[in-house]
Structures are given as C-alpha cells and as structure tokens.
Subunit: 191 residues, 2 copies
C-alpha cells in the first residue's frame, strides 16, 4: 500500500528546434495527491549526452532531496536523443525511476535513427535496449512504462494514485505544462 502523501519528482523537457543548442528540463516535486511542493529547472544539450548528469544535479541539490521517493520521466530521452541512464540514476541516488510514454516505443526505428545520426550510437542504444517496456491499462488509452529499482506492479500503483485525470500521472503532466508554457508563452499539448 503506497501512501498518497509520497513525493514524486516528475521531469519533462521543453519544446525546442533541432537547430537550437540547449533546451530546458523542468522537474516538479509533487505529492502523489497532486499537491505541488517545488519547481526545478536545468538546461541540457539538444541531442547531447548530459541529461543524466543534469538530472543527478537536479536531484542532489534540491532541498527536497530526502523526500523524493520516486522519479518519473517523460520517456527515456529528453531534448531529442539525450538518452537518460535510468539505471545509473537509480544506482547513484537510490531513488527508483519510472519512464512513461503514451506511445509504445518503436525500438527498431529508434536504433535506425541513432545509427544514422550519432557516431556514438552504441553508447546511447545501450541505455535504451535493456529497458523492458510494460503496457499499463488506464481508464483511457494505455501507457507504456519502464522502471528501475521498483517492480512494475509497484510502479503501476504509484502511477494510479498520482493520476488525477486522463492517463498521465500529475507530476509528468504538470512538468510538461510548465516547460512548454515557459518556452512558448502558453502551454500546449499533452505530456
């Protein structure tokens, strides 16, 4: 039984164009019941390799550090193909990580793109390929998750208690809304 009072850190990136060098990522510290307790911001390189380091910096330097019980990411890559080492984040921080997407990841297509775009495609692919994807049914469309440091069953329960409307948990929904609103002037779309 997971308490509705636990704190979740939800992270999403802002919108960007591929000719831009950097993009913001926004972290929201939120109780599972939706009560917002903190907003964090960092920058990462578009298609770069620094997302893991910048997320670790976000986690280690917030005053909420010791309250965060789980991290939710909008997918395993932020800022294009700046792939996050979710196993590394879990090992270094001790905090379980869940990635969440609306679409089932198409690994074949991802691998093809990585090979075409990046000389270091193997390093990026290594961070992606070991993550088992689980489909989670919701009252709306299903969502697709992967997780480290937590069982899929526990992850599912945390997602359930932190979802207010629709299919996406509140920490990810709100992080998306803030990141897109700050960059564009008005938030839009769905996480």
């Amino acid at each position: 039984m997971i308490k509705r009072q636990i704190r979740i850190l939800g992270i999403d990136d802002g919108p960007f164009k591929f000719d831009e060098e950097k993009v913001i990522i926004v972290g929201v510290v939120m109780r599972a019941n939706g009560y917002l307790e903190g907003v964090l911001r960092r920058e990462i390189e578009v298609d770069g390799r620094d997302s893991t380091e910048r997320i670790m910096d976000m986690i280690e330097n917030t005053r909420h550090r010791n309250q965060i019980k789980v991290i939710m990411l909008d997918g395993i890559a932020l800022g294009g193909f700046n792939v996050v080492d979710i196993d590394g984040i879990y090992r270094k921080s001790g905090i379980p990580v869940i990635t969440i997407t609306r679409e089932e990841p198409d690994f074949e297509s991802i691998l093809k793109t990585l090979k075409k775009k990046f000389p270091d495609w193997e390093d990026r692919w290594k961070l992606i390929k070991d993550n088992t994807i689980y489909e989670i049914k919701t009252p709306h469309n299903p969502i697709y998750i992967s997780c480290k440091g937590i069982s899929p069953g526990e992850a599912k329960e945390i997602i359930k208690i932190s979802t207010i409307r629709g299919a996406i948990p509140e920490p990810i929904r709100v992080a998306h809304m803030i990141a897109s609103g700050i960059v564009r002037g008005e938030s839009y779309g769905k996480a």
Copy 2:
C-alpha cells in the same frame, strides 16, 4: 455560491535584481479546486510601465480566454514598481481582478519611494491610491486584498475555495513557485 470548478488566472513575477532590465511573469490557469489547466509566460520591464499591457496580452491571447472568471495578482505591482492598472484590466477584459498580499501595504512608504525614484511617480501613484485594502482573516495569518469588478465578499469567497493550505490561494502560490523555480533553478519562499 461560487463553483469550485471556475477558472482563475493567477499571476506572479519571477525574482530579479534591480540592475536587470526584464523579468518574467507567469500566469497559471487553474480551477478553483487546484487543478492546473495552463501555464502562460510573458516578460515585463523591471520598474517599467508595461505590466498592464503585458497582462492584457496574456489574457487576450490565451485559448483559455473565455473560461477565466477572475484574475489574481500577487500585489498591485510586478517587477518592482511596474504598477498594474487593475481597474483598466477589469474594464477592458470584463474579468474581475483581485490583488493579494501577505503584508498590509504601507502607502506612505510606497508614495515616498515612488517620488524618489520616478519622475512619473504621479501616474504610478494614481493606479495605487484608489484601491481600498481589505483585511481577510484566514486560519493562518490574515491577507490583504483589493479588488475591481467584484465585491470584497465575493472575492473573499473565491479566495477561500481556492486556498488548499496556508493563507495564499493556489493560483498565486503555484505561479510564484513556477516563476521562482524557472528563474533560479529551484523554487523558494512564499508568494
């Protein structure tokens, strides 16, 4: 009886230093029950005269335009002494405006500062002096409000239904958290 489903636009400015030219203002579109529906962002000049115009631009250009039933501002001035014409906003938009502060405004001190800093102090003072300040008791410390287009009684009721914890209504609390978190990397303090 005001519905807990009405939409409120809460606006606060980000932190800034007085040698900076511009500062962001963040607007959050939120149901009175605390459910976030949109995040808006504009920039205003520190100690400038453009806050009213930029807020009007924020209101008139959001897709939430027709849903917003009341506007809440963290005080009557944003970005230092960039005083907001709340009567003008009400008259132009038709949406009532409430200003909220934790401290009772010290008009004598404000007038003194305006006279010292600004050749156009009379124009700024005119926007401030006509606003009656009402003290609102809360289960915590009292807050101080002024309002246009709405009675103090109705304003009080809207504040009450949109306050989740503490003394400050959720739209202002969240706008403050976003603006300070985005500018500084981590949100801090209270609206």
